[in-house]
Symmetry: C2
Subunit: 435 residues, 2 copies
């Protein structure tokens, strides 16, 4: 199968991440896409940065217009950002019959209707998963996964910077200005943080999601936008006392008379899952009339999470271009002749940590016996708690182990159960930190 | 555009839900799909039930084989379940060149490789979003949304019945057997609950997700399966004291030597978002090397949530059949000539509830003045808390309102701020229950 030739515009954080992910995972990506996706040329006015990203693997140019006019290029990935040059480049690429992948939410929020209209006339795809929620496949979920539903509302934590600031204000009792400085020093907030902290970035993303969910044009200009810069520490505290957490939410809601479209700090009941999304993470809650509530959670920004969405769009384009419709997406995601025969491991080889509960005689030396058996199997102990066992001469011992292999814990359990001081069977439950 | 003719096999819970959702949302679904999706014939051996579902809107037959052999039918939706007749029907439909949509995880877990191979040879689609996680678009996310990633592991709460039982055991301190009875009386567990409580259903779903995530054949027979029926109340309590919650997880993990594939009760740190997924809800956590952790949450079972996935698959099939590849999925999910011009409401018309903080003189009659103003605007109060304001003759009053309109709260705030006993501006933050 002929490779897909990609022209990459912009080699900043996301551009660099996209190049890296495509190179590192090229084998798996080809197995999924059914063809090779190859960045043929990289454009950046900062030619030194572009060469640093591309190395010897792609041609480098300072002239992005050369790329969108290059007949060898099938897909243009626009990661420059902003409204002016990015728009001209995108429209030129479309006019030249090229498919476009972009992460540019600001451009789509303001000029999306014009861009999609141009693309439709030319019969090209404009894919923009990376524009909302970083690597979370929220655009695909709304556009394809929830098509059965009349969408009732969408409510999302869709700006990582402001969620980080709110999380820190709550956890540390710190003032907005101090946390903003911390966020800037960690690279979570830009030198000019206005778009993030004043809700503009969230409103861009909200306008795009509302258009997809409700079947309306992109209407960023109609959104109500209020940020977090005026939020006082005491309100976060009072809200907490009343059972609420304050989050910057983007809310789009269907009403009989029209649609609500608004971004503002919002009190949410602490028991709600989305109220517990902390730090730079994003989450989008969608209410459909058939499915009820679904939620999508993940990193909303950053080089590789955003690159994950850019590359997923490239695979979508590649699948649409290279396969007949019936074979567009393979049944199991990988092309059928590209399945791997790496084996499933037997349970004895599984690695995890363990919770063990034992009932033992309340005597000296018992713990020494047990811990020696564990040490013999090279199993190390994370925690050990002794619990009185009601009305008998026994105690319960709860043991948490560090990571080990199932066959070692099996052997240890057999030996421990054989000790005369141990009564009955040991209860064993596996533990996962999920990190 | 010619309508897509669907043959529906099985009119139980999910079959009935699918019929209902397709009818209720037919207008929005057509706007998204670009054509009408029409259930032309419904098959069920229980002909009375089938007629109850179909009414006058579709032909009814007791013979499902008649449907899979009907040249008028484009897509067969298999919602019968089980391994035997469902398999014969599906293979016959495929042999006849029909696309298939199914929710049958058991069948795919055991015979998926054979079915996908037959479908590939015939060039037809087999779509199965409804087989895992009910209405959560987890199959699409794994198969299309995360294609950039080397998937490192998948860990999911993918059986609602067992998650409901574990949630109740923890919340009420009840024993497994008692909660199981409660679940059966609520319809959350079947008369024979074995597949749910012994982890078999979760292992079916896990085997399917692992195949998609890792690019391996479906290997249910290699999975380790352990359920929750032997879980003791005291272990749930001890785990909680140590900072963990016990969930039935399906875990698929990439290791150097092979893949782990296992279902068992698992201790998870309470701080993890997925540890807080309660009741019949499902959630799947996926770790990719580029995107990091993403999580997908929603109802994992039930008539309309599962129907949501079935219908989304039908829209996918319709889009693939009726459009040229470039126009397969519209840029904004709805066909471009089907966007709605329903307006975005001005902020004054938005309905929400409010948190208000006021600083007032510590005098008699102040609350009466404030509450009268709110009553004049028909704003009702959910909570009112008075907080001492350090070292002054003032107090802070925190007010939570019930649902009202923004223009009413604006008017009330103006009037309250005009009271001589009120100092400075009122802080107003919006509240959402997200229910």
């Amino acid at each position: 199968m002929k490779p897909i030739n990609v022209g990459l515009l912009g080699t900043g954080t996301v551009g660099g991440g996209t190049f890296k992910v495509l190179q590192r995972n090229s084998e798996e990506i080809s197995r999924r896409a059914g063809c090779t996706i190859r960045i043929a040329v990289v454009a950046d006015t900062d030619i030194v940065r572009a060469k640093g990203v591309a190395g010897d693997a792609a041609r480098v140019t300072a002239d992005a217009f050369e790329v969108v006019n290059d007949p060898q290029i099938d897909v243009v990935v626009e990661l420059i950002g902003g409204y002016t040059i990015a728009k001209d480049l995108m429209l030129k690429a479309i006019a030249n019959g090229k498919h476009v992948v972009t992460a540019n939410k600001a451009l789509l929020a303001l000029h999306g209707n014009e861009i999609f209209s141009a693309a439709r006339k030319q019969g090209v795809m404009v894919a923009f998963e990376a524009a909302v929620g970083g690597g979370i496949p929220i655009i695909k979920s709304l556009r394809e996964g929830l098509t059965a539903n009349r969408i009732e509302w969408i409510a999302g934590i869709i700006n990582g910077t402001s969620n980080f600031i709110l999380s820190e204000m709550r956890a540390k009792g710190a003032a907005f200005a101090d946390v903003l400085k911390e966020a800037q020093s960690k690279g979570y907030a830009e030198a000019d943080p206005t778009f993030d902290i004043e809700g503009v970035d969230a409103a861009h993303k909200l306008a795009i999601m509302a258009a997809i969910g409700f079947g309306i044009p992109v209407q960023f200009d109609k959104a109500y936008v209020e940020g977090i810069s005026k939020l006082a520490q005491q309100d976060i505290r009072y809200a907490e006392e009343l059972g609420y957490r304050i989050k910057l939410l983007g809310i789009a809601k269907r009403r009989a008379a029209g649609f609500e479209l608004r971004v503002h700090p919002t009190l949410i009941p602490t028991g709600q899952l989305i109220a517990n999304v902390e730090g730079v993470m994003n989450a989008i809650l969608v209410k459909g009339d058939a499915v009820g509530q679904t939620m999508y959670y993940g990193a909303g920004a950053g080089a590789e999470p955003t690159a994950s969405a850019v590359v997923a769009d490239l695979v979508d384009v590649a699948r649409a271009l290279t396969a007949d419709p019936e074979h567009r997406v393979p049944h199991l995601a990988f092309q059928h002749d590209q399945l791997s025969n790496v084996p499933i491991l037997p349970m004895g080889e599984v690695e995890t940590s363990y919770y063990l509960r034992l009932r033992v005689a309340d005597k000296a030396g018992v713990l020494a016996d047990i811990t020696r058996i564990l040490a013999d199997q090279a199993i190390s102990i994370e925690a050990l708690v002794q619990k009185p066992h009601d009305g008998e001469e026994h105690v319960d011992i709860i043991l948490l182990t560090h990571l080990t292999r199932e066959k070692k814990i099996d052997a240890a359990i057999l030996s421990i159960e054989a000790l005369p001081v141990v009564s009955g069977k040991i209860t064993r439950i596996r533990m996962e930190a999920l990190q």
